[in-house]
Symmetry: C2
Subunit: 283 residues, 2 copies
Amino acid sequence: MNILVTLDSNYMKPLRVMLKSLFLNNPEEAFTIYLMHSSIKRKELADLNSFIKDHGSQLKIIELDNSHFADAPTLFYYTKEMYYRLLAHKFLPDNLSRILYLDPDILVINPIRKLYEIDIDGYLYAAAYHDIPSIKEINKIRLRPYGIEAYYNSGVLLMNLDLHRRHIKEEAIYNLVRRKSLKLIMPDQDILNALYAKRIRSIDEKLYNYDVRYFRFYKIITNNLWDMDHVINNTIILHFCGKKKPWHKDYSGKFHSLYKHYEKLAFAALPNSSSYYKAQYGW
Amino acid sequence: MNILVTLDSNYMKPLRVMLKSLFLNNPEEAFTIYLMHSSIKRKELADLNSFIKDHGSQLKIIELDNSHFADAPTLFYYTKEMYYRLLAHKFLPDNLSRILYLDPDILVINPIRKLYEIDIDGYLYAAAYHDIPSIKEINKIRLRPYGIEAYYNSGVLLMNLDLHRRHIKEEAIYNLVRRKSLKLIMPDQDILNALYAKRIRSIDEKLYNYDVRYFRFYKIITNNLWDMDHVINNTIILHFCGKKKPWHKDYSGKFHSLYKHYEKLAFAALPNSSSYYKAQYGW
């Protein structure tokens, strides 16, 4: 399976935690991790590379600099890295037709193949929108000029690269960003929604992009079905959305202990044997 | 390492979760699990046996019935099983000199060898007392006639079996239970404290018997040192004390997601027996 991540040095630790959870809960899969970046240090990349190799997967590094986005407008304190995930198809190998983009602030707590194989024929993406009333309404109103009906979260994106190559154009994106009337709050996510929402296949956020801040909300709207037991056994992706992150000192939340557990495993010395995995899973 | 558990059918599922956490976090150890019981069904024992074998450890079953405690007084709705952990030395092999008793409502989240090897020369037990002011005071007052200074929790007990054989006598225990003036609330734990508190080596509850209800308390008394990160990386044993248990539907707590994670792993590899437990317990 092809996984795409785009980040800077600040997210290297969470990335490793995310990957650890992905590897542990998908022990029979091999992944090719494409990392698009512009500023990560050699040493950090080498560490990441051996970490990924030790888990039977491989890392492919795509290093970019500003020359790659020479014509792109920038915004405020956002760098050109905001374009990486939207324009990834320009830098990925031509023969890839599908890739799963994942934010680093997530945990993959169950097998991911069902997500990876979702039918996206005719769609640019599969993504989930967060159906929390307040979030949904605010973003729908904010992006009303673009006639969107749902505001998709861009943290988990299954990409149809064949269609991206044909339909996602730099100029369309740059033109949108240049419009002064549009206030981009979360630039890449706003662009995704403003330009492509109608060509996104909607997937269940409770399975594929579970916002950990809304445990109670999900439980209530499902008549208590989606309790902790159900989340742990069914949700594929936990997303630590928002400003408070589980690797921060002052974090507190329902999935804090679970996150710290994976973080510990991500940085534990890895015994170089398959018996470690056998012990982990009893298989 | 020798591990002792004493329980009935109601705790078979938590036992398996506890053992899974023990095995996962001690991948290089082999354990001999001694299970003392009187009423667990053949099928359940066979399942447990293969689960333990699959993890490279072994199960030894000690089946008792009331004939073994013919002279023992019983209390209210407590059965004679309350004596199992206190009198285990009478039923364990003569050549064992040390065993670690563990309650089934715990998770072992880090290597346990440091605990197992604590020096208990001259002590009957190593155990932790819960230093939460309310608990401590109530129990000290309650057991004042016995002059105890700390009220030890009996959920994690490192036992010096050589000394038990010489100093722990059935009659002393039965005599204590027969005294009408003593109101035993948690019988085995009360007996342990009333008779043997002075010969218990005290160990740090934050490391070896962390009461999950008191996350905030431990954090405050350590000037924020014992935060979630520190717990996950340092605490060996999380103890889900109290009436609300993490396998109950309505449970809520800081370590709920982590417990459910281990529970999932404990039942992941054996779909047949997991449906067996589902039928048994309604989960």
